[in-house]
C-alpha cells in the first residue's frame, strides 16, 4: 500500500520492567533495534523473552519503562492501534473463517474492501506459496500450511514490525528447516523489522542479524551469532549458545599473560577481559577448538581418557574424561587420520586464542562451582 523507502521501523526498549506482585518477569531490558533488522530473543522458558514480546505487541502492560517505534512512545497504545504484525505460537487462526478470510481480516479492519481486498489477500497467499488454498478452513490445512497462513495474515496489512513467538515450535525438523529459509526469504523481500522469539539456539543462529540472549528477565548479551559463539561474555551465554568445554578456576596474571588456575591445570587465554586477579573465572573452549596433541611442549595441554566416540557423518565427537574427573568433548573431521576407541589415553590441547575466559558468576552465587552441572552436552 505504501512505498516508504524504509519499510521497517526502528524499535527501542528503554529500561522495560514487568513484575507480577513480587515476581520480576522482565527486569530492566533496554534494546535498540534498527529498521529492517532481524533480532531474535533467545532464552530458556521463564527468561522473560515472551513477556517482552507481549509488551511490544501491547498484550501486557509495562510496569516501568518505555517502548518507542521510530521515536514515538507506544507503551500506552492498545494492541489494535499499534500496527505491529504477530505470528503466534499455535498460529491462532480463526477456525470459523477460511484461509482467505483470515488473511483478509486485518484488511477489513482497515476498511479495505472488494477487489482491492481480494487482490491483497491473493498476493499475500502467493508470497507464502499457498495459491489456491484460500477456500480451505484452518482444520483442512496441515500444520506447516496453517503456519504460513498465519504469516500471510500477519504481514498482509504491511506492518513495519513483525513479531514471531516460537512460530515453528510445533513442527517437525525437516519442515522447520524449510520454513526457516522461507522466513528469511520473506524478511528479505519485505524489508520490515522482525523480532523472533525462540528457545532453540540453532534456529536463532540461522535466522538472526542479532540475538539477544535472555536470562532471568534481563538480556545477558546482545550480538551477532558469531559474536555470541566466538566471544560469549557470560558463562550462561557460552553454554546456551553452542556446545562448550568449561574449565573453572581463578584468574592469575603472569606478566603479560592471563592465566586461569584450576584443579590440576594452568590455562593460558586471550586477554581481552578485564578480570581482577584471583577472581573466579571459567575458560570456555568450543569442541572444534580442542584437538589431539602431537608434541609435548604445547601450552594448554591436558591428559584425558576417551570415553566414547560418536560418528556424526561429517564429524566425529569424542567424549572425554580429564584426569580430575571433569568431562568434556572435542569434535574433529571424520577424515582425520588417527582413530581412537574407548579407553584410549590421549592428550588434548588448544591454542590460547581458542579459549575465552568469562567470569564465573555461578560460583559467586552458589559459593562453589559444581563441576558436573557446569559440563553439559
Amino acid at each position: 500500500m505504501s512505498t516508504d523507502p524504509a519499510p521497517g521501523a526502528a524499535l527501542a526498549l528503554r529500561d522495560v520492567v514487568k513484575h507480577y506482585g513480587e515476581q520480576f518477569a522482565v527486569d530492566g531490558v533496554s534494546l535498540d533495534i534498527q529498521p529492517g533488522e532481524f533480532v531474535t530473543f533467545l532464552g530458556p522458558s521463564g527468561s522473560g523473552k515472551t513477556t517482552t514480546l507481549n509488551m511490544i505487541a501491547g498484550f501486557t502492560r509495562l510496569t516501568r519503562g518505555q517502548i518507542e517505534m521510530d521515536g514515538r512512545a507506544i507503551a500506552a497504545l492498545p494492541p489494535h492501534k499499534r500496527n505491529i504484525g504477530m505470528v503466534f505460537q499455535h498460529y491462532a487462526l480463526f477456525p470459523h473463517m477460511t484461509a482467505a478470510e483470515n488473511v483478509g481480516f486485518p484488511l477489513r479492519q482497515r476498511k479495505v474492501r472488494g477487489a482491492e481486498l481480494a487482490q491483497h489477500v491473493e498476493r499475500a497467499l502467493a508470497m507464502v506459496r499457498l495459491e489456491g488454498f484460500g477456500d480451505r478452513y484452518p482444520r483442512q490445512l496441515s500444520g506447516g500450511q496453517q503456519q504460513r497462513v498465519a504469516l500471510a495474515r500477519a504481514v498482509v496489512f504491511e506492518p513495519r514490525v513483525l513479531l514471531m513467538d516460537e512460530p515453528l515450535g510445533a513442527l517437525d525438523k525437516k519442515l522447520r528447516e524449510w520454513l526457516q529459509l522461507e522466513i528469511k526469504r520473506i524478511h528479505r523481500e519485505l524489508g520490515i523489522t522482525f523480532i523472533y522469539v525462540t528457545h532453540d539456539q540453532e534456529e536463532a543462529l540461522v535466522l538472526s542479524d542479532r540475538i539477544a540472549v535472555f536470562r532471568d528477565g534481563r538480556i545477558d548479551q546482545l550480538g551477532t551469532a558469531e559474536e555470541l559463539y566466538e566471544r560469549p561474555e557470560t558463562l550462561f551465554v557460552a553454554e546456551f549458545v553452542g556446545d562448550s568445554n568449561v574449565f573453572p578456576g581463578r584468574v592469575a596474571r603472569a606478566g603479560e599473560r592471563l592465566e586461569v588456575v584450576g584443579d590440576g591445570y594452568r590455562l593460558q587465554v586471550r586477554d581481552d577481559r578485564l578480570l581482577p586477579d584471583g577472581s573466579p573465572a571459567v575458560v570456555v573452549v568450543r569442541p572444534e577448538g580442542l584437538r589431539v596433541a602431537n608434541g609435548n611442549a604445547e601450552a594448554n595441554t591436558l591428559d584425558a581418557t576417551v570415553r566414547e566416540v560418536i560418528y556424526l557423518g561429517s564429524s566425529r565427537r569424542l567424549e572425554l574424561e580429564f584426569r580430575n574427573g571433569r568431562r568434556g568433548h572435542l569434535r574433529e573431521a571424520s577424515n582425520a587420520p588417527h582413530s581412537f576407541s574407548e579407553g584410549d589415553a590421549i592428550r588434548v590441547t588448544w591454542a590460547p586464542e581458542d579459549g575465552v575466559v568469562v567470569p564465573d558468576d555461578r560460583s559467586l552465587e552458589q559459593g562453589v562451582a559444581e563441576p558436573s552441572s557446569v559440563l553439559t552436552g
Binding site: H80, A92, F105, Q109, R139
Partner: protein, 264 residues
C-alpha cells in the same frame, strides 16, 4: 469384535427400553388428541380434529398460548443477554466472592421451585407485579439464567483466548473482536442456553400458578386448571402442539449444530 457383540446387543436393548419408557406417555397423548369423544380415551375409537378447533376458538386456550409465547420470547432475550454477560464475568473476571456469586446465580437450579414461587408471590404482592407480563418475565428470567450461564461458561472455558489477542493485534477493537471472533465461536453455547431459557419459561407451571391472573395466564396454567375442573381432550391437543413445538426447536438446534461442526 465378536466377543463384544453380546454386550452390545444388550446395550441396544436397554437403550431402546429407556427410549420407550420416556416416549410412551407422550405417544399416548398424541392419538388421544384426535378423538371424537368428549372424554379422554385410549385408544380412540373415532377420529376428529374438533379439539384442535376448540383450542383455537376458545380464547382462554389460544390466548394462554400467545401469552406463553410472548413471555418465553422475552425471557429468552433477557436471560440470554444477562446470562452470557454473567458467564463472561464468572469465567474472566477477578472480583471478591466470585464463588459465592456463582452459587447465588445458579441457586434457582437447586432451590425447590415452590419456595421460589412463594417468595415471588409475596414480593409481587407488595410490588404489584402479580399477574403482569413484566412479573412473569422477571421471575422466569431468574429461573432461566442458570441454564444460559452453564452453557456459555462451558463454551468460554474451551475458548482459546489467543484468538482474541490475534484479532486485536490485527487491528480489531474490543467490540469488533467480540462480534467477529468471540461471539461466533461461543455461539453454540449461547444458542443452547437460549433454547433452554425458552423451554424453561414456556414449560414453567409452579411460579406461574402463584402469580397468574385472569388476564395473564400461561398455557401450562391453563392446562393445569382445565384438568382440575373438567376432563376435556383439548388438553391433549395442547400437549401435542407443545410436543411438536419443542421437538421442532430441538431438531432445528441439532441441525444447526451439525452444520457448525461441519465448518470447524
Amino acid at each position: 469384535m465378536t466377543e463384544a457383540r453380546g454386550p452390545k446387543k444388550l446395550l441396544v436393548a436397554v437403550c431402546m427400553m429407556i427410549g420407550v419408557w420416556l416416549l410412551a406417555p407422550m405417544l399416548v397423548v398424541v392419538p388421544m388428541s384426535f378423538t371424537d369423544r368428549r372424554s379422554l380415551s385410549f385408544p380412540p375409537e373415532g377420529w376428529s380434529l374438533q379439539w384442535y378447533r376448540n383450542f383455537f376458538s376458545e380464547p382462554q386456550w389460544y390466548e394462554a398460548l400467545l401469552t406463553s409465547l410472548e413471555i418465553a420470547v422475552l425471557v429468552t432475550v433477557v436471560a440470554t443477554f444477562l446470562g452470557t454477560a454473567a458467564a463472561f464475568a464468572l469465567v474472566r473476571g477477578h472480583f471478591p466472592a466470585k464463588a459465592a456469586v456463582n452459587a447465588l446465580l445458579l441457586a434457582p437450579l437447586v432451590v425447590p421451585v415452590v419456595i421460589v414461587a412463594i417468595a415471588v408471590f409475596a414480593a409481587y404482592l407488595r410490588w404489584q407485579l402479580s399477574g403482569t407480563v413484566r412479573g412473569f418475565v422477571l421471575a422466569h428470567t431468574a429461573l432461566a439464567i442458570p441454564f444460559v450461564i452453564i452453557t456459555v461458561t462451558a463454551s468460554l472455558r474451551t475458548f482459546d483466548r489467543r484468538l482474541e489477542l490475534a484479532a486485536q493485534n490485527l487491528g480489531a477493537n474490543p467490540l469488533t473482536t467480540f462480534r467477529r471472533v468471540t461471539l461466533p465461536l461461543i455461539l453454540p453455547g449461547v444458542l443452547s442456553g437460549a433454547l433452554f431459557a425458552f423451554i424453561t419459561s414456556f414449560d414453567e407451571v409452579v411460579v406461574a400458578l402463584f402469580i397468574q391472573s385472569p388476564d395473564v395466564r400461561t398455557l401450562p396454567v391453563q392446562m393445569f386448571t382445565s384438568v382440575t375442573r373438567e376432563v376435556d381432550p383439548t388438553i391433549a391437543a395442547a400437549s401435542t402442539m407443545i410436543l411438536v413445538l419443542t421437538t421442532a426447536l430441538l431438531t432445528m438446534f441439532a441441525l444447526a449444530r451439525r452444520q457448525e461442526e461441519h465448518v470447524h
